[in-house]
């Protein structure tokens, strides 16, 4: 089969102008990554009093990135991704208790009155094993839920997934083995651990580092993933799933991988967050559907959904505004957040990056060759 067409005047390579904008985009990407990573590394030393808030910032970045993989890149607006956060938190906690050598039922029924006596080794082994089991467990949950819920489209998928998160909170609340509504107190960070000598607060630094690594790993993972065929396929599903099916794309496979990847990172975030809070319970901490569950959507929309950097920018902006209003506008903080969301969805739905892309399309590689403004006549545009 010969697919070769006439090749009059074409080089088979992207035109110089396009290459230029691609190079610029790559350089911008590297500089932004460098700046953000630098802040991640020195932030806790510059602002030692804000270490908890910056830790939460990285978790927010992770939230927005994992939500966008589904909602932005693939067009499946999940309102239930917070389910994997809570599920991961609980799986991690249960694993930690088991590794510490306690019976989970006895441990939880003691309501934290039990004297936990574990070695440093046990603590860290339990924590890391817990994070790993949580991540893998949530990948399996995503695969199973995907089989059921990927039959739903549009608003039905959003409401269906919201149902998962709400139901999970209620079910866990009624499950005594994991402490029911009274929750679980997690083993305490070893007092003598000293990974960050001189920091004064080893525990905060330790979990800060975990959160930073998790966020960076999430970013790098999605950056890679979107550069592969996966990126094109989920975008195709977003633009026209029926067409994608008609072209033979293995749509269910791609959708499952997208959700499983979200679940993987959300579970790790849940495990980390649970250990930062020390005490986990179903409604407020593990499955906070109306706070974190909605924040992740709002952050991705604010920054620009369907882009790699949009969720990151949205998360940073949203989190900073949230923390500032909580401190300086107490009582008005929810109204301020509500205003941001309203302004966002009413006036610039495409988000910050989406708006920039419309404003400066060439910087994002949207070019027409042979257009008068650019002078060069390279395309063979005769029909």
């Amino acid at each position: 089969m010969s697919w070769r067409a006439r090749r009059e005047g074409i080089s088979g390579k992207p035109g110089p102008r396009h290459m230029g904008s691609v190079m610029n985009a790559e350089r911008r990407n590297l500089i932004s990554q460098g700046l953000l990573l630098a802040f991640g590394l020195i932030g806790p030393f510059l602002f030692p009093h804000y270490i908890q808030q910056i830790t939460l910032l990285w978790i927010m970045v992770l939230f927005a990135l994992t939500w966008d993989a589904m909602g932005g890149q693939m067009g499946y607006n999940s309102l239930g991704n917070i389910f994997f956060f809570g599920a991961g938190m609980y799986i991690c906690a249960v694993t930690q208790i088991m590794v510490a050598g306690y019976d989970v039922g006895e441990y939880t029924s003691a309501f934290g009155a039990i004297h936990v006596d574990i070695s440093d080794g046990q603590y860290f082994a339990g924590l890391f094993l817990g994070l790993a089991v949580a991540a893998v467990g949530c990948v399996f949950l995503a695969i199973i839920l995907g089989r059921i819920f990927f039959g739903l489209r549009g608003p039905y998928f959003a409401i269906g997934t919201l149902g998962i998160a709400l139901a999970a909170g209620e079910l866990i609340g009624a499950w005594d083995w994991v402490g029911g509504g009274s929750g679980i107190s997690l083993p305490l960070y070893p007092a003598e651990a000293d990974f960050f000598p001189g920091s004064g607060d080893d525990e905060s630094m330790f979990f800060y580092t975990l959160a930073l690594i998790a966020a960076v790993a999430t970013f790098l993972f999605y950056q890679w993933l979107y550069s592969t065929r996966f990126g094109l396929a989920v975008n195709a599903i977003r633009d026209d799933e029926e067409k994608a099916e008609g072209m033979g794309i293995h749509t269910l496979r791609y959708k499952t991988v997208a959700w499983a990847s979200s679940a993987f990172f959300m579970a790790i975030a849940g495990g980390i967050h649970g250990n930062i809070i020390h005490f986990i319970e179903p409604l407020e901490v593990a499955f906070p559907t109306v706070t974190f569950g909605i924040f992740m959507v709002a952050m991705a929309l604010l920054g620009g959904k369907g882009t790699l950097w949009g969720p990151v920018i949205g998360a940073i902006l949203f989190h900073v505004i949230k923390e500032v209003t909580w401190t300086h506008l107490l009582g008005w903080q929810w109204i301020a957040l509500g205003m941001i969301i309203i302004v966002n969805v009413v006036f610039f739905q495409q988000g910050i990056l989406g708006w920039m892309k419309e404003r400066w399309p060439e910087a994002f590689g949207v070019t027409v060759e042979g257009a008068p403004a650019q002078g060069s006549e390279t395309g063979g545009g005769s029909n």
């Binding site: 697919w3 633009d239 027409v368 029909n383």
Partner: protein
């Protein structure tokens, strides 16, 4: 090569509630040929297309592709066998640029699990750009495809179908909505897809000049039934076909 039947539709019926869209339709598509499907609006052409590519189950009859029954298979499975269709209402991935539209249209039939994480090699990129050149969209290849005109989107959809290397391509009104001055260019490209790329075509078309010019064999549907079939000359001069189009019923 010629004479081999690639698609065999036998006694296919399909109704929507009380409306009989297709009744006992039989049709063959010969390998390497261009087969035309004509008929007045609402005669059941698109329903037949949808039945062939698996968009809905059929009530009765059999549809074979390369001698194998496909009427129970799902859309993706049929597409991966090399039987592809374009849409009457053009469907492309509107927010992606033309090159990306092309790159994701590569044949998926041999893809295993880990091919999801592969990248498109130079061969795929070259092929995408050459096909975009073939349909005259090369200079616009980095534009979001949703910004193209309707006619250009149709050409892009056609190029995407070629990218998929189908054995048979079902085209639903390829010239509808295209500027008349461009139609000749499109006919030329469809013919070349057939002769140069060896793709068998089954074409729904309202434009008689187009179909009579292209097709080796023409089927005419009316009211969900097969009215006439044969060479373009025969069908064109069939009094029943003329009546169906002019409404002499």
């Amino acid at each position: 090569m010629s004479g081999k039947k690639l698609i065999e539709v036998n006694g296919v019926s399909k109704s929507y509630g009380g409306v009989v869209a297709n009744s006992n339709i039989s049709l063959d598509v010969e390998d390497g040929k261009i087969t035309g499907l004509i008929g007045p609006n609402g005669s059941g052409k698109t329903t037949l297309f949808n039945s062939i590519v698996g968009y809905h189950p059929i009530d009765e009859g059999s549809i074979k592709f390369e001698g194998e029954e496909i009427s129970k298979l799902r859309v993706q499975q049929i597409a991966r066998r090399g039987l592809l269709r374009t849409f009457q209402q053009t469907r492309i991935y509107g927010k992606m640029n033309c090159v990306d539209n092309m790159l994701i249209s590569i044949p998926h039939r041999k893809h295993g699990f880990f091919d999801m994480f592969g990248t498109n090699g130079k061969a795929d990129r070259d092929k995408a750009e050459h096909l975009l050149e073939f349909v005259g969209l090369y200079s616009k290849r980095y534009l979001p495809s949703g910004d193209l005109s309707f006619g250009q989107q149709k050409l892009l959809e056609f190029a995407m179908a070629l990218m998929n290397e189908p054995k048979v391509l079902l085209l639903d009104e390829p010239t509808a909505g295209i500027n008349p001055t461009l139609i000749n260019g499109l006919i030329d490209r469809l013919k070349r897809a057939n002769t140069d790329f060896g793709i068998t075509l089954l074409v729904i078309e309202h434009n008689m000049r187009v179909i009579m010019n292209m097709a080796d064999k023409v089927y005419c549907l009316a009211h969900g039934e097969m009215l006439s079939s044969g060479s373009p000359d025969v069908v064109q001069n069939d009094q029943r076909v003329i009546d169906a189009y002019l409404g002499a019923h």
